[in-house]
C-alpha cells in the first residue's frame, strides 16, 4: 500500500482519535494505526474476558457475573464535565450523533468518616450534613461570592484580586474550616492535592465555576457519561476521522520506523507496506525511548459489586472523592461508580473503579478507606500504571507524543493535551468550528 499521508497516528486512544478526527475535518490525509485489534488503546473499555486476561491471566472469566458482552469496563475511569472542554469538542464535531450520554446521578465527598453529596449551590450548602450550622452560613457566603463575581464589577470583588490573592487567603476571609476547604478544593475545584492553596485563586475560581455551571446544566451532578462506556469516545472520533477520509488499520504492529539522516520521522513499515508522512502522532507506548516516567504511578482497582454503594441513596452512578487530608495522604482517592443504567455491566451489578497516585510500597493498602465506602465486593481486579510524558515537544524530529492518562476524575487534562499537541503540530491554537449537521451535510451532498 505504499502511500503518502499528511499525518500518521499510532494508537487509537482518546487523545489520538480526537486529533485524528480534527485533522481529518481540516482536510489532512490521516493514516491511523493500532497494533491491537480493538479501538481505544489505553483508554478502551473491555469486556470481562478481556479484563481477566489482562489483570488475572491465570483466572479465566467464566460467566459468573452474567453475559460477558454486557460488560464494558473502563481502563481509565473518568467522567465528562457537562460544561467541560470534551463536551464542547463533542458538540462542535457532532460526534454526539454517534453515541448517547447520561447523567451521573451523584457527586459525593468524604468528610470525617462519612460520605455526603457535594453542595454546589447555596441551597445545598444550607442543607448539607457535611457542615455545622455556622459553617453552612460561611459556605453560603463563599458560594455567593463565587457565583456573583464579575471581573468588570469591582463591587463584586469584595476586596479580592483573583490574580494576586491566594486561594488560602480567600478561605481565610470567609472563615472556612479545614474540612470545608477540603471539599471545595478537591471535590469541586477537583485539585488532586493541596498545592493550589498558595497559588493565585484564579485557576481555582475557574475550576469551581466549571463545576457549578456543569451541575446547573443537567441538575444531578456535574458529570455525564456515554452509554456503553468511555471506549465509545475514541470509536466516535475514529468514525469522524474515517468519514472525513481517514484510513484505519487495526491489528497492525509497526515493523519499522523510518527516519531520515537527521532522525526526523518519515514513515512506518507494516505488514501492508510502507506509509510515509512528515508527521507522526503517537501514544507513549509506541516510543518508549522518547518518553520519560513522570515518577507518578497510578493504582486502579476495578471492583465488581452486586449492590449500590451505601449512603448514596442507591445511586445508579456516582463520583466519590476522598480528599487527601481526610485520610492523611498527599493525593486524593477517586471512586467512579457505574451500573447497568449506563450499559456497562449486567443487570443487578455495580462497578466501582478506585484510583489514586501511589505513595507507599504497599499500594493496595492505600485504598482501604475506599474499600470501606463501597462495601462488599464480588471480585477486584487491580493494575498499576506508570505515567509517561514526552521528552521533547516534537517540533524538531516530528514525533509528537501524547501523555499517559492521569488519575484525575475528568477529561480536562486530556483535552489540554489534545490542544497542546495540536499547537505543537500546527504552530497555532485549536479553534473549533461547528460541524454541519446531518441534514446540512446531506444537502451539501445533494441528497435531500
Amino acid at each position: 500500500m505504499d502511500e503518502e499521508y499528511d499525518i500518521i497516528v499510532l494508537g487509537t486512544g482518546l487523545t489520538e482519535c480526537i486529533l485524528s478526527g480534527i485533522f481529518s475535518i481540516e482536510g489532512k490525509k490521516v493514516l491511523h494505526i493500532d497494533r491491537q485489534d480493538y479501538y481505544g488503546g489505553e483508554s478502551a473499555s473491555l469486556n470481562l474476558t478481556q479484563l481477566y486476561k489482562k489483570f488475572k491471566p491465570k483466572k479465566e472469566y467464566e460467566d459468573q457475573f452474567g453475559k460477558d458482552r454486557d460488560w464494558c469496563v473502563d481502563l481509565i475511569p473518568k467522567f465528562l464535565m457537562s460544561n467541560g472542554e470534551l463536551t464542547n469538542i463533542l458538540v462542535h464535531t457532532d460526534v454526539t450523533r454517534y453515541m448517547e450520554f447520561k447523567q451521573i446521578s451523584g457527586s459525593f465527598v468524604y468528610r470525617s468518616g462519612k460520605i455526603a453529596k457535594v453542595p454546589a449551590t447555596q441551597m445545598e450548602a444550607i442543607s448539607s450534613p457535611l457542615m455545622g450550622f455556622f459553617e453552612k452560613r460561611r459556605m453560603k457566603s463563599f458560594l455567593e461570592f463565587i457565583a456573583n463575581y464579575n471581573d468588570n464589577e469591582p463591587s463584586t470583588h469584595h476586596g479580592i484580586n483573583l490574580d494576586l490573592n491566594t486561594m488560602d487567603e480567600i478561605y481565610y476571609k470567609y472563615g472556612l474550616e479545614r474540612g470545608t476547604k477540603d471539599f471545595i478544593g478537591h471535590a469541586m475545584a477537583l485539585h488532586p492535592n493541596d498545592d493550589y492553596l498558595n497559588q493565585p485563586a484564579r485557576d481555582t475560581y475557574n475550576r469551581i465555576m466549571l463545576y457549578v455551571s456543569s451541575v446547573a446544566r443537567y441538575g444531578k451532578s456535574p458529570y455525564i457519561y456515554p452509554l456503553y462506556g468511555l471506549g465509545e469516545l475514541p470509536q466516535g472520533f475514529a468514525r469522524l476521522s474515517a468519514i472525513y477520509g481517514g484510513t484505519f488499520m487495526l491489528d497492525t504492529p509497526i515493523d519499522e520506523i523510518l527516519k531520515d539522516e537527521n532522525n526526523k520521522f518519515i514513515g512506518v513499515k507494516t505488514k501492508e507496506g510502507i506509509a510515509k508522512a512528515p508527521i507522526v502522532i503517537a501514544d507513549p507506548t509506541y516510543f518508549p525511548e522518547k518518553v520519560k516516567a513522570t515518577g507518578q504511578k497510578v493504582i486502579r482497582a476495578m471492583c465488581i459489586l452486586d449492590h449500590p454503594i451505601p449512603n448514596t441513596n442507591d445511586a445508579d452512578s456516582a463520583q466519590i472523592i476522598i480528599p487527601q487530608n481526610q485520610v492523611n495522604r498527599k493525593n486524593d482517592i477517586y471512586i467512579a461508580v457505574l451500573s447497568s443504567a449506563h450499559n456497562v455491566c449486567s443487570k443487578g451489578y455495580y462497578l466501582a473503579i478506585i484510583s489514586t497516585i501511589i505513595e507507599t510500597d504497599k499500594p493496595h493498602l492505600e485504598l482501604e478507606s475506599a474499600f470501606k465506602i463501597i462495601g462488599q465486593t464480588k471480585d477486584v481486579l487491580m493494575g498499576i500504571a506508570e505515567l509517561y510524558e514526552p521528552l521533547n515537544d516534537g517540533t524538531n524530529d516530528k514525533f509528537f507524543i501524547s501523555k499517559s492518562y492521569d488519575p484525575s476524575s475528568h477529561f480536562e487534562s486530556t483535552t489540554d493535551d489534545v490542544k497542546d499537541i495540536y499547537k505543537r503540530v500546527t504552530g497555532h491554537d485549536l479553534v473549533l468550528k461547528q460541524r454541519k449537521t446531518a441534514d446540512e451535510e446531506a444537502e451539501l451532498a445533494g441528497l435531500s
Binding site: 460544561n83 447523567q103 457549578v212 475514529a238 474515517a242 472525513y244
Partner: protein, 217 residues
C-alpha cells in the same frame, strides 16, 4: 405511539469495498446513480423517510466510511442497529465470502431482533442489454447460494441493481414492514430495553442560571 409519529430506525451497511453499498443508499435516498463513484468520504450518515401504511419510518443509514478496509468496524457501529444490509457483488465470488463473514459478525455484535437483508447487488452487470437475458458466465454467485445463506442466518434475500433501481425500494420497504410487524409483536418492555431516565441531549442550549438565589433563610 400516534400514527403520525416517525419511527427512527438505525440501519447499518456492511459488505466488501466497492460492492455498491453507498450506491444503493444513494438510489434509495435520492433516486440517483453515479457511475465510477469514488470510495465513500464525507457525508456517511443519511436519513430517508419511508411511509408504510399509516406509519412513517425514518431510516438513519450508517455507511462504513471505509473503516472496514483494514480494520474491524467499531462496536459503536453496530450498537442498537435495528436493521442491516449485508451487500455483495453478484459478479464477484470473493465479495460473497466476505458477506458470509459479515453475517456472522452481525450475529455476534448486534441486538437480537435486528432485521437483516442479504443483498446481491450489480444485477445489471449480468444482464444482456439487448435481450434482457442473463449473460452466461457473468454471474459468479448463484441465486441458490444467496438464498441459502440468507435462510441460514434468518435474513431476507434480494438481488438488486443500484444502477437500474431494480429492487432497491423493495428492500427498504420490506425492512420497514418487517420492523413495524416486530414492533407490533414486541412486548412494551422489549421495545424500550434501556431505561430512559437521565438521558441527556448535549446539543441542547445550556441553562445559564447558575446563581440560585432561592432564599433558604
Amino acid at each position: 405511539m400516534s400514527a403520525s409519529s416517525q419511527i427512527p430506525v438505525k440501519l447499518v451497511l456492511l459488505g466488501e469495498a466497492a460492492v455498491g453499498k453507498s450506491s444503493l443508499v444513494l438510489r434509495f435516498v435520492s433516486n440517483d446513480f453515479q457511475e465510477n463513484k469514488e470510495p465513500t468520504i464525507g457525508a456517511a450518515f443519511l436519513t430517508q423517510r419511508c411511509t408504510i401504511g399509516d406509519k412513517t419510518i425514518k431510516f438513519e443509514i450508517w455507511d462504513t466510511a471505509g473503516q472496514e478496509r483494514f480494520a474491524n468496524l467499531a462496536h459503536l457501529y453496530y450498537r442498537n442497529a435495528q436493521a442491516a444490509l449485508v451487500v455483495y457483488d453478484v459478479t464477484k465470488a470473493a465479495s460473497f465470502i466476505k458477506a458470509r463473514h459479515w453475517m456472522k459478525e452481525l450475529k455476534e455484535q448486534s441486538t437480537k431482533n435486528i432485521v437483516v437483508a442479504l443483498i446481491g447487488n450489480k444485477f445489471d452487470l449480468i444482464l444482456d442489454e439487448e435481450t434482457g437475458e442473463e449473460i452466461e458466465g457473468a454471474r459468479k454467485v448463484s441465486v441458490e447460494e444467496g438464498k441459502n445463506l440468507a435462510e441460514e442466518e434468518g435474513a431476507v434475500f434480494f438481488e438488486t441493481s443500484a444502477k437500474t433501481a431494480y429492487n432497491v425500494n423493495e428492500v427498504f420497504m420490506y425492512i420497514g414492514e418487517k420492523l413495524i410487524e416486530n414492533l407490533a409483536k414486541a412486548q412494551p418492555e422489549d421495545n424500550q430495553p434501556q431505561t430512559q431516565t437521565n438521558r441527556i441531549d448535549l446539543t441542547a442550549a445550556p441553562q445559564q442560571n447558575i446563581n440560585d438565589n432561592g432564599c433558604a433563610c
